[in-house]
């Protein structure tokens, strides 16, 4: 899956203004009237990383590697009684949250 940064073609260190400009350029090339799906992807990507707050949130809570729903379903699914996750799956869930990296990025952005 492409990250919003890749989709808009910007670096993770980009400023708000740079991200906005990249977004507008993408919109210009893909107007909502021509291809709605594509436009919605661009819009969602932009909203995920448009300012410091949303980038921090994206960094903290976006879970690229884990099928969060799947893991939760296997633990709490209605078909069966509660089944604890295996050790491996639990680590997967934990590792999916790159807290340190996201915090470091956010702090770097704030100070720059």
């Amino acid at each position: 899956m492409t990250s919003p940064y890749q989709l808009l073609g910007v670096a993770e260190q980009s400023t708000d203004a740079e991200i906005k400009q990249a977004y507008l350029q993408r919109v210009k090339d893909n107007p909502p009237d021509r291809d709605q799906k594509r436009f919605q992807q661009i819009q969602q990507a932009f909203e995920a990383i448009k300012d410091g707050d949303s980038r921090l949130q994206y960094g903290l809570f976006h879970l690229p590697e884990a099928d969060f729903d799947g893991l939760l379903d296997s633990a709490f699914g209605q078909a069966s009684d509660f089944q604890p996750l295996s050790e491996d799956d639990f680590c997967k869930l934990l590792n999916a949250v790159p807290v340190e990296k996201a915090l470091a990025n956010a702090l770097a952005n704030k100070s720059s």
Binding site: L24, P31, P32, Q36, Q43
Partner: protein, 579 residues
């Protein structure tokens, strides 16, 4: 070549149709007039009247004439015209049909597609009704765009640098305000707010009330039952309002308004601008409150705005300009005629949809929050109708959002889903715009997951679906206001009925009656004359308009001989002007 798509501004008081030719936007005029009053009537011979003629008839036969139908769009209402009942959609369709014909005569070919503008703050039901009006008129409505957005498109197209604009759109019946960011060829609406029932008609009504009070005081009678007298003072009030845009005082005079106890009543009344401004002060305050709500929605303040754009005839009211100047500290813009701006934007968007090269891309938002109700809490107490927003106000269109809900009773086999539009945490204080049942759910303990998906399309119309997660059982609807909605059959019936009024066979979509050589030449000449209007003196223009009207009526009567003389004279004037 792809089909022509016209842009239509279907207004409360006036309507216009525009088209993009060779990259240039033209508001199409008929007999020298670009504005078609949104009046519909049936004359004493049973002929249908649209525009100026219907507007004139209103004074003599108010019961045969309909005005301001846009205010009733989306409501379960009917109007009576010459003894027959019509829905608001049908009356609007008559206006659309007229605009369609005007455009067809201009381009000389049949037209079946249109972009129609609606107030940004129009609800789902009002948009649905507008869409239906288009269908009844034989138009495929390829897109509905918001009026202030259309205006921003016209102003935004010429912008080099990034700018934040506030569009203040006060029409005959509706008020919209939008905050727009224009940058790198993208016109991006950041927020919209408004009022569906606030406009110049309300200003007129204040003056009408004033006149009625005056007559009651002077003559001790109530004239509200006298439809002709009321029609006259309605027109007089409107005229006084227009005068007060330029003058400090307006004289209202209507002789022989009606008879009372055998004596004629003459109306003579002076209205001062300051008194008028006091009458409409509450309305202006309401628009300013909306301006601040829109700014807040865009997370901006007054000082972030670079330009104000005025749209709609009612923005000619001087105190509106003054209030905006006070609030923002600079003069609002109105270079593009506030009556024509919206139609021009609609035509621009039509060209864009049609694949023509247009330098400006539009990104719009919804002015409403849409959601559902669920068991929850209100003020800390358990409450069965807590409003659960799904698509938030000012979300970019198209928007698609899902929300998961759980059944709350063991063995619950069905769920009633209600969809609301509004901002109140108590769903019952919002407008319910539709509901449906999901049945045959699995017989399982409470906690069966139902996913609700709301889809708001580029027209601002809502589609809803719900799915039982475990089985994939799905139920979907397009939200149509169940009350005002036309079934497909009723729609085609309405179309036949309206076609009948125009003396056409139902389903007769072809642009019949080919023009004779003389008529074709006359039309070309009119087009040429109108293109010179901008540059000629008022006197020449008047002569030309007179001739165009004579020629137009000759074309209408099919009398080629009657065309010769005025055509020759118009030709002379053009020759003289061009040399």
């Amino acid at each position: 070549m792809s089909d022509i798509i016209i842009g239509i501004d279907l207004g409360t008081t006036n309507s216009e149709v525009a088209i993009v030719e060779n990259g240039k936007v033209t508001v199409i005029s008929e007999a020298g007039k670009k504005i078609l009053p949104s009046f519909v009537g049936i004359d004493d011979k049973g002929e249908i009247l649209v525009g100026e003629t219907a507007r004139n008839q209103y004074l003599i036969y108010p019961e045969r004439t309909i005005k301001s139908i846009k205010r009733l769009m989306g409501q379960d209402a009917q109007v009576v015209m010459a003894g027959h009942h019509y829905t608001p959609q049908e009356i609007s369709a008559i206006i659309l049909k007229r605009l369609k014909t005007i455009a067809e005569q201009y381009v000389g070919q049949a037209i079946s597609k249109a972009v129609i503008t609606v107030p940004a703050y129009f609800s789902d039901a009002q948009r649905q009704a507008t869409h239906e009006a288009g269908q009844i008129a034989g138009l495929d409505v390829v897109r509905m765009i918001n009026e202030p957005t259309a205006a921003a498109l016209v102003y935004g197209a010429s912008q080099g640098e990034a700018k934040r604009m506030l569009v203040y759109d006060l029409g005959g019946g509706t008020f919209d305000v939008s905050v727009v960011n224009v940058q790198d060829g993208v016109v991006e609406v950041l927020s919209s707010h408004g009022d569906n029932h606030l406009g110049g008609d309300d200003f007129d009504q204040q003056i009408i009330n004033h006149i009625q009070d005056h007559i009651r005081e002077q003559h001790g009678m109530d004239i509200s039952e006298h439809s002709k007298a009321m029609a006259r003072i309605t027109r007089a009030a409107e005229n006084a309002k227009l005068v007060l845009s330029d003058e400090p005082y307006a004289q209202i005079e209507e002789e022989y308004l009606l008879e009372h106890e055998g004596a004629p009543i003459h109306l003579t009344l002076e209205l001062a601008r300051s008194d008028y401004e006091e009458m409409i002060d509450d309305y202006i305050n309401a628009t300013m409150d909306a301006v601040h709500i829109a700014l807040k929605g865009a997370k901006l303040t007054v000082s972030d705005i670079d330009e104000i754009i005025l749209v709609g005839g009612s923005t000619r009211t001087p105190c509106i300009r003054e209030r905006l100047l006070d609030e923002f500290g600079f003069e609002p813009h109105g270079e593009v005629d506030p009556d024509l701006c919206v139609a021009m934007g609609a035509a621009t968007q039509a060209a864009m949809i049609n694949g023509q090269q247009i330098d400006t891309v539009l990104v719009d938002v919804t002015p409403y929050t849409y959601g559902t109700s669920a068991m929850g809490y209100l003020d800390g107490e358990p409450y069965p109708y807590q409003f659960v927003p799904v698509i938030h106000k000012n979300s970019v269109l198209p928007a698609r959002k899902s929300e998961a809900f759980m059944t709350f009773q063991d063995g619950q086999r069905e769920v009633r889903v209600s969809i609301y539009q509004g901002e109140d945490p108590d769903a019952l204080n919002n407008i319910e715009i539709g509901e449906f049942m999901i049945e045959d759910l699995r017989d399982v303990p409470a906690g069966n997951i139902i996913t609700l998906t709301l889809d708001l399309d580029l027209n601002g119309m809502l589609h809803v679906s719900a799915r039982e997660k475990a089985t994939g059982l799905e139920k979907s609807i397009t939200i149509n206001n169940a009350i005002s909605r036309f079934e497909t059959e009723a729609l085609s019936h309405a179309k036949q009925r309206i076609d009948g009024l125009f003396g056409q066979k139902a389903g007769d979509e072809t642009f019949s009656k080919p023009d004779s050589a003389a008529v074709a030449e006359a039309r070309k000449l009119i087009k040429k004359a109108e293109s010179l209007f901008e540059t000629v003196s008022a006197e020449d223009k008047e002569d030309m308009v007179d001739l165009i009207e004579t020629i137009a009526s000759g074309i209408e009567d099919g009398d080629d001989n009657a065309l010769q003389e005025p055509v020759a004279r118009l030709n002379d004037i053009i020759y003289y002007l061009e040399s």
